[in-house]
């Protein structure tokens, strides 16, 4: 079998993969391949028909498909970028061979000089949260329901209960209402919602859909098809409180209980993962623990703003292209980035120092729970503060971004910490 050789092979054609391909081209790569298992490019954006995308990047509010289309156009303009659709990557090896399959070619191999992982994420399912009861038809993840309603054109049910109040759950509550379904309630096990206030107002309040905070589903009823659920209030340890149970009649339950980066391929090659983000540990160039393997987008950490996904894709594409041309600068030191106190996750987890790069480093962080009057500080050796930001409010659902000039790291020691402290209100 003669296998084709590429400078950069990109696995996944969502916004991260598209941005990576475009940026690899701009940075000198001559032969770039995007492999996408779906029938078209654009990834999850194609099913997110609501608006709110691209405010940072295009200074206008686009819908998901509108945003995707702009990037697909950019990629199509360059003959250096090849696209394989309906093609699923099965395996990636340490020598950077990629094994894929499609209906036309069957199983085949391609060889990359550099690999970029942009496979996105998948949804947690009922198994991941263990609700007792039989397995009647009518239980879906919110994302699967979104695809059904927005791309295939049928409703998952008529009377709906949604578990989880993240943005996907909220958006689906409105979407199903507009399609004529009855959304009975949204339940959230935490005492707060991770969704944007805007979505709570415009997706729930506008349609008088009740949001039950600190509540969960304790049983799903029905033999063949869902007939209802039993809900209960939960205590501080998220255990159902006896005596608070109530029933809701419904024929459909949507689970919007979180996303997990899709990292089977990366794990199989032996790439080190971060236990908190569930994505690869990367440096500011988005290079993983194995040289020549890069990653960007939801595969690294779950994003809520597609603008940041594109930014990350551009970074990974650029450095993958430089790697393929043996132009990646030599590192003289690598710093570890630690997340402390209220900060739960931080990306990149490493900072590679060389003698030529001038690009500032942007740290992307999330808090573990809602916080008020927070001072976020990045400290190096001897507790020296490299950067700080004061936040009147911080929510787990919104990424915190801090930019630090690269020269600040030169005498910062072997590790830096992102920490927080409480400040009094001004």
């Amino acid at each position: 079998m003669n296998k084709q050789l590429f400078d950069v092979v990109i696995i996944g054609g969502g916004p991260a993969g598209l941005a990576a391909a475009h940026s690899a081209k701009l940075n000198g790569a001559k032969k770039i391949l995007i492999i996408e298992r779906d029938r078209e490019l654009g990834g999850i954006l194609q099913q997110c028909i609501h608006n709110g995308f691209g405010l940072h990047r295009f200074q206008q509010e686009l819908t998901g498909p509108g945003y995707a289309q702009r990037y697909i156009q950019l990629v199509k303009e360059h003959p250096e970028i090849e696209v394989l659709l309906d093609t699923m990557v099965l395996q990636v090896n340490k020598d950077k061979t990629v094994i894929a399959v499609n209906p036309k070619q069957g199983v085949f191999e391609v060889q990359g000089e550099a690999i970029v992982f942009t496979m996105g994420c998948r949804e947690r399912t009922r198994g991941a949260i263990r609700i007792p009861g039989k397995r009647p038809a009518g239980v879906f993840t919110a994302g699967a329901a979104q695809r059904m309603v927005n791309m295939e054109g049928y409703l998952p049910g008529k009377k709906i209960v949604i578990l989880g109040s993240g943005d996907i759950g909220l958006i689906m509550a409105r979407r199903l209402t507009l399609e004529g379904a009855d959304v009975q309630a949204v339940l959230e096990i935490m005492p707060y919602s991770n969704g944007l206030t805007r979505n709570i107002v415009q997706c729930l309040d506008d349609y008088n859909i009740p949001l039950h905070l600190a509540h969960t589903i304790i049983a799903i009823h029905g033999q063949e098809r869902v007939t209802g659920v039993t809900c209960a209030k939960v205590d501080a340890n998220m255990k159902p409180i006896a005596g608070t149970e109530f029933d809701i009649e419904c024929d459909c339950v949507l689970l919007s209980v979180g996303l997990i980066p899709e990292n089977e391929l990366s794990e199989e090659v032996g790439i080190a993962l971060d236990a908190k983000t569930n994505g690869p540990i990367v440096d500011q160039r988005r290079q993983t623990s194995i040289p020549g393997f890069f990653a960007a987008g939801n595969v690294v950490h779950v994003h809520d703003l597609v603008d940041f996904v594109s930014e990350e894709g551009e970074i990974a594409g650029k450095y993958a292209a430089l790697f393929a041309q043996s132009k990646l600068p030599e590192n003289y030191r690598t710093l570890h980035v630690m997340a402390e106190n209220a900060i739960r996750t931080v990306v990149p987890q490493k900072i590679a120092l060389d003698h030529v790069s001038l690009d500032a480093v942007r740290l992307f962080m999330r808090v573990g729970k809602p916080e008020e009057n927070l001072m976020v500080e990045v400290t190096g050796a001897g507790e020296k503060v490299l950067a700080s930001k004061r936040l009147p409010i911080a929510k787990p659902g919104e990424m915190i971004v801090l930019e630090i000039p690269i020269d600040k790291f030169a005498d910062a020691g072997d590790s830096i910490a992102v920490t927080t402290r409480q400040v009094v209100k001004a």
């Binding site: 309603v149 927005n150 054109g153 507009l178 929510k395």
Partner: protein, 123 residues
């Protein structure tokens, strides 16, 4: 004289302040609890003439996909969003379609057009 107090959460920035608006005989009187003026302005608009964008889908014949995502070209009155969506549920268009094509002109006589938000090729 009838006085009504309505709780309105501001959505302008991530602070998400929750305040109250007082209406007298249906007329805006005061807004309290908002950290800044943008909040009280938003709350006033929200109680007097709330507006929303509409995004939904319409059916497509001969297209690569069966559905076309569409959006209103400007916000419509909040209470017209659901009726407009139900009206579009009965609409079918024929591929090919270009992003920005007008799919439905002057929906419900509101002076708002519904436009395609992506290209859709013929099957």
């Amino acid at each position: 004289m009838s006085q009504v107090v309505r709780k309105i959460s501001c959505i302008v920035c991530p602070m998400g302040c929750s305040g109250e608006v007082t209406l007298e005989n249906g007329e805006f009187k005061t807004a309290t609890g908002y950290t800044c003026k943008r909040g009280s302005d938003y709350a006033k608009l929200e109680v007097t003439s709330p507006k929303r964008m509409l995004t939904t889908t319409v059916r497509v014949r001969d297209g690569e996909l069966n559905l076309l995502p569409v959006a209103s070209d400007k916000p419509l009155p909040k209470n017209k969003v659901l009726p407009a969506a139900r009206c579009l549920a009965g609409v079918q268009v024929v591929a090919p379609i270009k992003e920005g094509d007008i799919i439905y002109e002057n929906i419900l006589d509101l002076g708002v057009n519904i436009i395609a938000t992506r290209d859709l090729a013929k099957r």
